[in-house]
Symmetry: C2
Subunit: 222 residues, 2 copies
Protein backbone atom coordinates (compact mmCIF):
# COMPACT_ATOMS: atom_id res chain seq x y z
CA UNK A 1 0.00 0.00 0.00
CA UNK A 2 3.07 2.22 -0.33
CA UNK A 3 1.78 3.63 -3.61
CA UNK A 4 -1.35 4.92 -1.95
CA UNK A 5 0.60 6.62 0.86
CA UNK A 6 2.89 8.41 -1.60
CA UNK A 7 -0.15 9.49 -3.56
CA UNK A 8 -1.92 10.82 -0.46
CA UNK A 9 1.17 12.80 0.39
CA UNK A 10 1.29 14.33 -3.11
CA UNK A 11 -2.42 15.14 -2.93
CA UNK A 12 -2.23 16.77 0.49
CA UNK A 13 0.82 18.84 -0.49
CA UNK A 14 -1.02 19.91 -3.64
CA UNK A 15 -4.15 20.88 -1.79
CA UNK A 16 -2.20 23.00 0.70
CA UNK A 17 -0.95 25.11 -2.22
CA UNK A 18 -4.51 25.87 -3.37
CA UNK A 19 -4.56 28.83 -0.99
CA UNK A 20 -1.80 30.50 -3.05
CA UNK A 21 -3.94 30.29 -6.18
CA UNK A 22 -6.94 31.63 -4.25
CA UNK A 23 -4.83 34.51 -2.91
CA UNK A 24 -3.75 35.36 -6.46
CA UNK A 25 -7.29 35.39 -7.89
CA UNK A 26 -8.58 37.40 -4.88
CA UNK A 27 -5.81 39.99 -5.29
CA UNK A 28 -6.49 40.22 -9.01
CA UNK A 29 -10.30 40.34 -8.66
CA UNK A 30 -10.73 37.23 -10.78
CA UNK A 31 -13.30 34.43 -10.53
CA UNK A 32 -11.84 31.04 -11.45
CA UNK A 33 -13.94 28.07 -12.64
CA UNK A 34 -12.57 24.51 -12.99
CA UNK A 35 -14.57 22.47 -15.55
CA UNK A 36 -14.25 18.70 -15.18
CA UNK A 37 -15.79 15.62 -16.87
CA UNK A 38 -15.09 12.42 -18.78
CA UNK A 39 -13.51 12.74 -22.23
CA UNK A 40 -16.02 14.00 -24.77
CA UNK A 41 -18.73 15.02 -22.30
CA UNK A 42 -18.92 18.45 -23.91
CA UNK A 43 -16.67 20.77 -21.88
CA UNK A 44 -15.40 22.68 -24.91
CA UNK A 45 -18.83 22.98 -26.51
CA UNK A 46 -20.33 24.21 -23.23
CA UNK A 47 -17.66 26.92 -22.95
CA UNK A 48 -18.38 28.00 -26.53
CA UNK A 49 -22.06 28.41 -25.61
CA UNK A 50 -21.61 29.91 -22.14
CA UNK A 51 -18.99 32.54 -22.92
CA UNK A 52 -21.23 34.63 -25.23
CA UNK A 53 -23.82 34.80 -22.40
CA UNK A 54 -21.23 36.04 -19.89
CA UNK A 55 -19.00 38.10 -22.17
CA UNK A 56 -21.06 41.31 -21.95
CA UNK A 57 -20.51 41.46 -18.25
CA UNK A 58 -17.05 40.00 -17.72
CA UNK A 59 -13.69 39.94 -19.48
CA UNK A 60 -13.08 36.22 -19.92
CA UNK A 61 -10.01 34.02 -20.38
CA UNK A 62 -9.77 30.27 -20.99
CA UNK A 63 -7.08 27.72 -20.09
CA UNK A 64 -7.39 24.52 -22.13
CA UNK A 65 -5.56 21.58 -20.56
CA UNK A 66 -4.87 18.48 -22.63
CA UNK A 67 -2.34 15.70 -22.62
CA UNK A 68 -1.76 16.46 -26.29
CA UNK A 69 -3.37 18.35 -29.24
CA UNK A 70 -4.21 22.07 -29.57
CA UNK A 71 -7.68 21.48 -30.98
CA UNK A 72 -9.71 22.74 -28.00
CA UNK A 73 -7.87 26.04 -27.61
CA UNK A 74 -8.16 26.74 -31.34
CA UNK A 75 -11.89 25.86 -31.29
CA UNK A 76 -12.70 28.03 -28.25
CA UNK A 77 -10.71 30.99 -29.52
CA UNK A 78 -12.33 30.77 -32.96
CA UNK A 79 -15.84 30.41 -31.52
CA UNK A 80 -15.69 33.07 -28.80
CA UNK A 81 -12.76 35.39 -29.53
CA UNK A 82 -11.66 35.35 -25.88
CA UNK A 83 -8.04 35.04 -24.73
CA UNK A 84 -7.20 31.34 -24.68
CA UNK A 85 -4.09 29.33 -23.94
CA UNK A 86 -3.40 25.65 -24.50
CA UNK A 87 -1.56 23.79 -21.76
CA UNK A 88 -0.06 20.34 -22.26
CA UNK A 89 0.35 18.14 -19.20
CA UNK A 90 2.94 15.79 -20.70
CA UNK A 91 0.92 12.68 -19.92
CA UNK A 92 -0.42 13.78 -16.53
CA UNK A 93 -4.03 12.79 -15.86
CA UNK A 94 -4.98 15.89 -13.88
CA UNK A 95 -4.03 19.53 -13.21
CA UNK A 96 -2.02 20.17 -10.06
CA UNK A 97 -2.06 23.47 -8.20
CA UNK A 98 1.41 24.16 -9.53
CA UNK A 99 0.20 23.72 -13.12
CA UNK A 100 -2.90 25.78 -12.35
CA UNK A 101 -0.73 28.63 -11.02
CA UNK A 102 1.65 28.49 -13.99
CA UNK A 103 -1.27 28.49 -16.42
CA UNK A 104 -2.87 31.53 -14.74
CA UNK A 105 0.46 33.34 -14.97
CA UNK A 106 0.91 32.31 -18.62
CA UNK A 107 -2.61 33.49 -19.51
CA UNK A 108 -2.19 36.64 -17.42
CA UNK A 109 -4.84 37.68 -14.89
CA UNK A 110 -4.61 41.46 -15.52
CA UNK A 111 -7.65 42.76 -17.36
CA UNK A 112 -9.66 39.58 -16.79
CA UNK A 113 -12.64 39.01 -14.46
CA UNK A 114 -13.46 35.38 -15.15
CA UNK A 115 -11.19 32.48 -16.08
CA UNK A 116 -12.29 28.99 -17.09
CA UNK A 117 -9.93 26.04 -16.75
CA UNK A 118 -10.94 23.08 -18.91
CA UNK A 119 -9.34 20.20 -17.03
CA UNK A 120 -8.17 16.86 -18.51
CA UNK A 121 -11.09 14.62 -19.52
CA UNK A 122 -11.05 12.21 -16.61
CA UNK A 123 -13.74 11.47 -14.03
CA UNK A 124 -11.26 10.23 -11.41
CA UNK A 125 -7.93 12.00 -10.83
CA UNK A 126 -8.78 15.68 -11.36
CA UNK A 127 -11.25 15.37 -8.44
CA UNK A 128 -8.39 14.69 -6.05
CA UNK A 129 -6.35 17.74 -6.96
CA UNK A 130 -7.69 21.11 -5.81
CA UNK A 131 -6.77 23.59 -8.57
CA UNK A 132 -7.51 26.58 -6.35
CA UNK A 133 -10.64 27.36 -8.37
CA UNK A 134 -13.61 29.18 -6.82
CA UNK A 135 -16.06 26.73 -8.35
CA UNK A 136 -15.91 23.15 -9.67
CA UNK A 137 -18.34 22.62 -12.52
CA UNK A 138 -18.73 18.89 -13.24
CA UNK A 139 -20.32 17.67 -16.48
CA UNK A 140 -22.05 14.33 -16.90
CA UNK A 141 -23.11 13.55 -20.46
CA UNK A 142 -26.24 11.54 -21.15
CA UNK A 143 -24.45 8.83 -23.22
CA UNK A 144 -22.27 7.99 -20.19
CA UNK A 145 -25.31 6.87 -18.21
CA UNK A 146 -27.21 8.09 -15.16
CA UNK A 147 -25.31 5.70 -12.82
CA UNK A 148 -21.92 7.47 -13.05
CA UNK A 149 -22.19 9.43 -9.74
CA UNK A 150 -22.33 6.05 -7.99
CA UNK A 151 -19.19 4.76 -9.71
CA UNK A 152 -17.08 7.92 -9.57
CA UNK A 153 -18.06 9.28 -6.15
CA UNK A 154 -15.30 11.79 -5.42
CA UNK A 155 -15.87 13.80 -8.61
CA UNK A 156 -19.48 14.40 -7.63
CA UNK A 157 -18.55 15.08 -4.00
CA UNK A 158 -16.19 17.91 -4.98
CA UNK A 159 -18.66 19.40 -7.49
CA UNK A 160 -20.03 22.87 -6.71
CA UNK A 161 -22.58 22.29 -9.49
CA UNK A 162 -23.34 19.47 -11.95
CA UNK A 163 -24.35 19.98 -15.58
CA UNK A 164 -25.97 17.03 -17.33
CA UNK A 165 -25.12 17.56 -21.01
CA UNK A 166 -26.47 16.23 -24.32
CA UNK A 167 -30.00 15.87 -22.91
CA UNK A 168 -31.36 15.92 -26.49
CA UNK A 169 -30.22 12.28 -26.88
CA UNK A 170 -31.74 11.06 -23.58
CA UNK A 171 -34.53 9.04 -25.29
CA UNK A 172 -31.97 7.08 -27.35
CA UNK A 173 -29.80 6.28 -24.34
CA UNK A 174 -32.41 5.24 -21.79
CA UNK A 175 -31.20 7.98 -19.45
CA UNK A 176 -33.36 9.08 -16.54
CA UNK A 177 -33.06 12.69 -15.34
CA UNK A 178 -34.63 11.71 -12.04
CA UNK A 179 -32.13 8.88 -11.50
CA UNK A 180 -29.19 11.12 -12.43
CA UNK A 181 -30.35 13.87 -10.03
CA UNK A 182 -30.93 11.33 -7.25
CA UNK A 183 -27.49 9.73 -7.81
CA UNK A 184 -25.83 13.16 -7.65
CA UNK A 185 -27.83 13.99 -4.50
CA UNK A 186 -26.61 10.79 -2.82
CA UNK A 187 -23.03 12.00 -3.28
CA UNK A 188 -23.63 15.68 -2.77
CA UNK A 189 -26.90 17.14 -1.57
CA UNK A 190 -25.68 20.74 -1.95
CA UNK A 191 -24.78 20.79 -5.66
CA UNK A 192 -27.48 22.12 -8.00
CA UNK A 193 -28.02 19.98 -11.12
CA UNK A 194 -28.61 21.63 -14.51
CA UNK A 195 -29.89 19.81 -17.59
CA UNK A 196 -28.42 21.12 -20.82
CA UNK A 197 -28.48 20.58 -24.53
CA UNK A 198 -25.95 22.69 -26.39
CA UNK A 199 -27.54 21.49 -29.63
CA UNK A 200 -31.02 22.70 -28.66
CA UNK A 201 -29.77 25.63 -26.56
CA UNK A 202 -31.61 24.31 -23.49
CA UNK A 203 -30.46 25.04 -19.96
CA UNK A 204 -27.42 27.14 -20.90
CA UNK A 205 -29.06 30.39 -19.74
CA UNK A 206 -30.01 28.89 -16.37
CA UNK A 207 -26.40 27.78 -15.86
CA UNK A 208 -25.12 31.20 -16.95
CA UNK A 209 -27.48 32.88 -14.42
CA UNK A 210 -26.22 30.59 -11.67
CA UNK A 211 -22.60 31.44 -12.53
CA UNK A 212 -23.37 35.18 -12.63
CA UNK A 213 -24.82 34.92 -9.14
CA UNK A 214 -21.79 33.02 -7.81
CA UNK A 215 -19.32 35.39 -9.47
CA UNK A 216 -21.10 38.52 -8.19
CA UNK A 217 -21.17 37.01 -4.70
CA UNK A 218 -17.37 36.72 -4.69
CA UNK A 219 -16.61 39.99 -6.46
CA UNK A 220 -19.00 41.94 -4.18
CA UNK A 221 -17.30 40.49 -1.09
CA UNK A 222 -13.89 41.76 -2.17
Amino acid sequence: MKTVLIKEDIVSRNNERAKDVRALTRNKNVYYVNVMSSPGAGKTTLLEKLIPLLGDRYRIGVIEADIDSDKDALDVERATGVKTIQMHTGGACHITCQMSMEALQALGTDGLDLIFLENIGNLVCPAEFDTGADLNLVLLSVPEGDDKPLKYPLMFEVASAVAVTKTDVAPIFDFSRAAAAENVRRRNAAAPVFFLSAKKGEGIEELADYLLEQIDKKLRSM
Copy 2:
Protein backbone atom coordinates in the same frame (compact mmCIF):
# COMPACT_ATOMS: atom_id res chain seq x y z
CA MET B 1 8.93 17.68 -10.89
CA LYS B 2 9.34 15.27 -7.98
CA THR B 3 5.77 14.03 -8.43
CA VAL B 4 6.49 12.87 -11.92
CA LEU B 5 9.64 11.03 -10.88
CA ILE B 6 7.83 9.18 -8.10
CA LYS B 7 5.08 8.29 -10.53
CA GLU B 8 7.54 6.99 -13.13
CA ASP B 9 9.15 4.84 -10.47
CA ILE B 10 5.77 3.40 -9.45
CA VAL B 11 4.87 2.74 -13.08
CA SER B 12 8.16 1.03 -13.90
CA ARG B 13 8.01 -1.15 -10.78
CA ASN B 14 4.42 -2.06 -11.69
CA ASN B 15 5.29 -2.94 -15.24
CA GLU B 16 8.16 -5.21 -14.11
CA ARG B 17 5.64 -7.27 -12.18
CA ALA B 18 3.52 -7.87 -15.28
CA LYS B 19 5.70 -10.89 -16.08
CA ASP B 20 4.43 -12.61 -12.91
CA VAL B 21 0.83 -12.24 -14.09
CA ARG B 22 1.81 -13.52 -17.55
CA ALA B 23 3.60 -16.51 -15.98
CA LEU B 24 0.45 -17.32 -13.97
CA THR B 25 -1.89 -17.18 -16.97
CA ARG B 26 0.57 -19.19 -19.11
CA ASN B 27 0.86 -21.88 -16.41
CA LYS B 28 -2.90 -22.01 -16.04
CA ASN B 29 -3.62 -21.96 -19.79
CA VAL B 30 -5.68 -18.82 -19.51
CA TYR B 31 -6.06 -15.94 -21.97
CA TYR B 32 -6.43 -12.58 -20.21
CA VAL B 33 -8.07 -9.52 -21.81
CA ASN B 34 -7.92 -5.99 -20.30
CA VAL B 35 -10.85 -3.84 -21.44
CA MET B 36 -10.29 -0.07 -21.13
CA SER B 37 -12.24 3.09 -22.05
CA SER B 38 -13.77 6.31 -20.75
CA PRO B 39 -16.67 6.04 -18.29
CA GLY B 40 -19.84 4.92 -20.03
CA ALA B 41 -18.25 3.93 -23.35
CA GLY B 42 -19.97 0.53 -23.19
CA LYS B 43 -17.46 -1.90 -21.64
CA THR B 44 -20.08 -3.79 -19.63
CA THR B 45 -22.58 -3.92 -22.49
CA LEU B 46 -19.89 -5.18 -24.88
CA LEU B 47 -18.95 -7.99 -22.47
CA GLU B 48 -22.64 -8.95 -22.21
CA LYS B 49 -22.80 -9.26 -26.02
CA LEU B 50 -19.37 -10.85 -26.58
CA ILE B 51 -19.47 -13.55 -23.93
CA PRO B 52 -22.38 -15.51 -25.49
CA LEU B 53 -20.40 -15.66 -28.77
CA LEU B 54 -17.30 -17.05 -27.03
CA GLY B 55 -18.94 -19.14 -24.31
CA ASP B 56 -19.41 -22.26 -26.44
CA ARG B 57 -15.70 -22.52 -26.95
CA TYR B 58 -14.19 -21.18 -23.73
CA ARG B 59 -14.94 -21.21 -20.02
CA ILE B 60 -15.07 -17.51 -19.20
CA GLY B 61 -14.59 -15.42 -16.06
CA VAL B 62 -14.99 -11.67 -15.53
CA ILE B 63 -13.32 -9.24 -13.14
CA GLU B 64 -15.25 -5.98 -12.77
CA ALA B 65 -13.14 -3.14 -11.37
CA ASP B 66 -14.81 -0.02 -10.05
CA ILE B 67 -14.03 2.66 -7.53
CA ASP B 68 -17.42 1.98 -5.99
CA SER B 69 -20.76 0.20 -6.77
CA ASP B 70 -21.44 -3.47 -7.59
CA LYS B 71 -23.73 -2.70 -10.50
CA ASP B 72 -21.48 -3.96 -13.32
CA ALA B 73 -20.69 -7.34 -11.76
CA LEU B 74 -24.38 -7.95 -11.03
CA ASP B 75 -25.34 -6.94 -14.59
CA VAL B 76 -22.72 -9.15 -16.28
CA GLU B 77 -23.48 -12.13 -14.08
CA ARG B 78 -27.21 -11.78 -14.68
CA ALA B 79 -26.80 -11.33 -18.45
CA THR B 80 -24.23 -14.06 -19.13
CA GLY B 81 -24.21 -16.46 -16.19
CA VAL B 82 -20.39 -16.58 -16.14
CA LYS B 83 -18.27 -16.42 -12.98
CA THR B 84 -17.87 -12.75 -12.08
CA ILE B 85 -16.24 -10.86 -9.24
CA GLN B 86 -16.46 -7.20 -8.32
CA MET B 87 -13.27 -5.47 -7.26
CA HIS B 88 -13.20 -2.06 -5.58
CA THR B 89 -10.09 0.06 -5.98
CA GLY B 90 -10.75 2.35 -3.02
CA GLY B 91 -10.45 5.50 -5.08
CA ALA B 92 -7.60 4.38 -7.34
CA CYS B 93 -7.91 5.47 -10.96
CA HIS B 94 -6.36 2.36 -12.51
CA ILE B 95 -5.60 -1.32 -11.89
CA THR B 96 -2.03 -2.10 -10.85
CA CYS B 97 -0.36 -5.44 -11.51
CA GLN B 98 -0.70 -6.23 -7.81
CA MET B 99 -4.47 -5.66 -7.97
CA SER B 100 -4.66 -7.63 -11.22
CA MET B 101 -2.86 -10.59 -9.60
CA GLU B 102 -5.06 -10.47 -6.48
CA ALA B 103 -8.21 -10.30 -8.61
CA LEU B 104 -7.13 -13.31 -10.70
CA GLN B 105 -6.49 -15.24 -7.48
CA ALA B 106 -9.83 -14.15 -6.01
CA LEU B 107 -11.69 -15.16 -9.17
CA GLY B 108 -9.66 -18.39 -9.44
CA THR B 109 -8.01 -19.39 -12.73
CA ASP B 110 -8.68 -23.14 -12.43
CA GLY B 111 -11.32 -24.29 -14.87
CA LEU B 112 -11.23 -21.07 -16.88
CA ASP B 113 -9.80 -20.44 -20.37
CA LEU B 114 -10.57 -16.78 -20.86
CA ILE B 115 -10.75 -13.94 -18.34
CA PHE B 116 -11.91 -10.39 -19.01
CA LEU B 117 -10.84 -7.53 -16.76
CA GLU B 118 -13.10 -4.49 -17.03
CA ASN B 119 -10.75 -1.72 -15.94
CA ILE B 120 -11.73 1.62 -14.31
CA GLY B 121 -13.46 3.98 -16.77
CA ASN B 122 -10.56 6.32 -17.49
CA LEU B 123 -8.80 7.10 -20.76
CA VAL B 124 -5.55 8.17 -19.08
CA CYS B 125 -4.13 6.29 -16.10
CA PRO B 126 -5.01 2.64 -16.86
CA ALA B 127 -2.89 2.97 -20.03
CA GLU B 128 0.24 3.50 -17.94
CA PHE B 129 -0.17 0.40 -15.81
CA ASP B 130 0.45 -2.93 -17.52
CA THR B 131 -2.02 -5.37 -15.93
CA GLY B 132 -0.20 -8.40 -17.35
CA ALA B 133 -3.03 -9.03 -19.81
CA ASP B 134 -2.42 -10.77 -23.15
CA LEU B 135 -4.49 -8.20 -24.99
CA ASN B 136 -5.60 -4.60 -24.39
CA LEU B 137 -9.00 -3.92 -25.91
CA VAL B 138 -9.68 -0.15 -25.98
CA LEU B 139 -13.19 1.20 -26.57
CA LEU B 140 -13.95 4.60 -28.01
CA SER B 141 -17.65 5.50 -28.04
CA VAL B 142 -19.11 7.66 -30.78
CA PRO B 143 -20.51 10.35 -28.41
CA GLU B 144 -16.96 11.02 -27.14
CA GLY B 145 -15.86 12.20 -30.58
CA ASP B 146 -13.50 10.97 -33.29
CA ASP B 147 -10.65 13.23 -32.05
CA LYS B 148 -9.99 11.35 -28.80
CA PRO B 149 -6.96 9.32 -30.02
CA LEU B 150 -5.18 12.66 -30.55
CA LYS B 151 -5.93 13.87 -27.03
CA TYR B 152 -5.32 10.64 -25.12
CA PRO B 153 -2.36 9.24 -27.05
CA LEU B 154 -0.97 6.61 -24.67
CA MET B 155 -4.27 4.71 -24.39
CA PHE B 156 -4.35 4.22 -28.14
CA GLU B 157 -0.63 3.41 -28.28
CA VAL B 158 -1.01 0.52 -25.81
CA ALA B 159 -4.16 -0.81 -27.51
CA SER B 160 -3.91 -4.23 -29.16
CA ALA B 161 -7.27 -3.51 -30.81
CA VAL B 162 -9.74 -0.61 -30.78
CA ALA B 163 -13.52 -1.00 -30.75
CA VAL B 164 -15.54 2.06 -31.74
CA THR B 165 -18.86 1.58 -29.91
CA LYS B 166 -22.39 3.05 -30.25
CA THR B 167 -22.00 3.49 -34.03
CA ASP B 168 -25.80 3.59 -34.34
CA VAL B 169 -25.74 7.19 -33.04
CA ALA B 170 -22.95 8.37 -35.38
CA PRO B 171 -25.29 10.53 -37.54
CA ILE B 172 -26.49 12.45 -34.45
CA PHE B 173 -22.97 13.10 -33.16
CA ASP B 174 -21.22 14.17 -36.37
CA PHE B 175 -18.73 11.33 -35.93
CA SER B 176 -16.58 10.23 -38.86
CA ARG B 177 -15.46 6.58 -39.00
CA ALA B 178 -12.68 7.53 -41.39
CA ALA B 179 -11.38 10.27 -39.06
CA ALA B 180 -11.54 7.93 -36.04
CA ALA B 181 -9.65 5.18 -37.89
CA GLU B 182 -7.07 7.68 -39.16
CA ASN B 183 -6.58 9.17 -35.66
CA VAL B 184 -6.09 5.67 -34.20
CA ARG B 185 -3.66 4.84 -37.01
CA ARG B 186 -1.58 7.94 -36.24
CA ARG B 187 -1.08 6.62 -32.69
CA ASN B 188 -0.89 2.96 -33.50
CA ALA B 189 -0.68 1.58 -37.03
CA ALA B 190 -0.83 -2.05 -35.85
CA ALA B 191 -4.14 -2.04 -33.95
CA PRO B 192 -7.19 -3.20 -35.92
CA VAL B 193 -10.26 -0.96 -35.52
CA PHE B 194 -13.73 -2.52 -35.18
CA PHE B 195 -16.97 -0.57 -35.51
CA LEU B 196 -19.71 -1.87 -33.23
CA SER B 197 -23.27 -1.23 -32.25
CA ALA B 198 -24.43 -3.37 -29.36
CA LYS B 199 -27.94 -2.04 -29.97
CA LYS B 200 -28.00 -3.15 -33.61
CA GLY B 201 -25.75 -6.17 -33.07
CA GLU B 202 -23.27 -4.87 -35.64
CA GLY B 203 -19.58 -5.72 -35.54
CA ILE B 204 -19.72 -7.92 -32.43
CA GLU B 205 -19.14 -11.12 -34.42
CA GLU B 206 -16.13 -9.66 -36.22
CA LEU B 207 -14.61 -8.71 -32.87
CA ALA B 208 -15.41 -12.15 -31.43
CA ASP B 209 -13.70 -13.79 -34.45
CA TYR B 210 -10.62 -11.62 -33.94
CA LEU B 211 -10.47 -12.57 -30.25
CA LEU B 212 -10.91 -16.28 -31.07
CA GLU B 213 -7.94 -16.05 -33.42
CA GLN B 214 -5.76 -14.29 -30.83
CA ILE B 215 -6.75 -16.71 -28.07
CA ASP B 216 -6.11 -19.79 -30.22
CA LYS B 217 -2.73 -18.37 -31.22
CA LYS B 218 -1.66 -18.21 -27.57
CA LEU B 219 -3.23 -21.47 -26.44
CA ARG B 220 -1.77 -23.39 -29.44
CA SER B 221 1.71 -22.05 -28.63
CA MET B 222 1.60 -23.45 -25.09
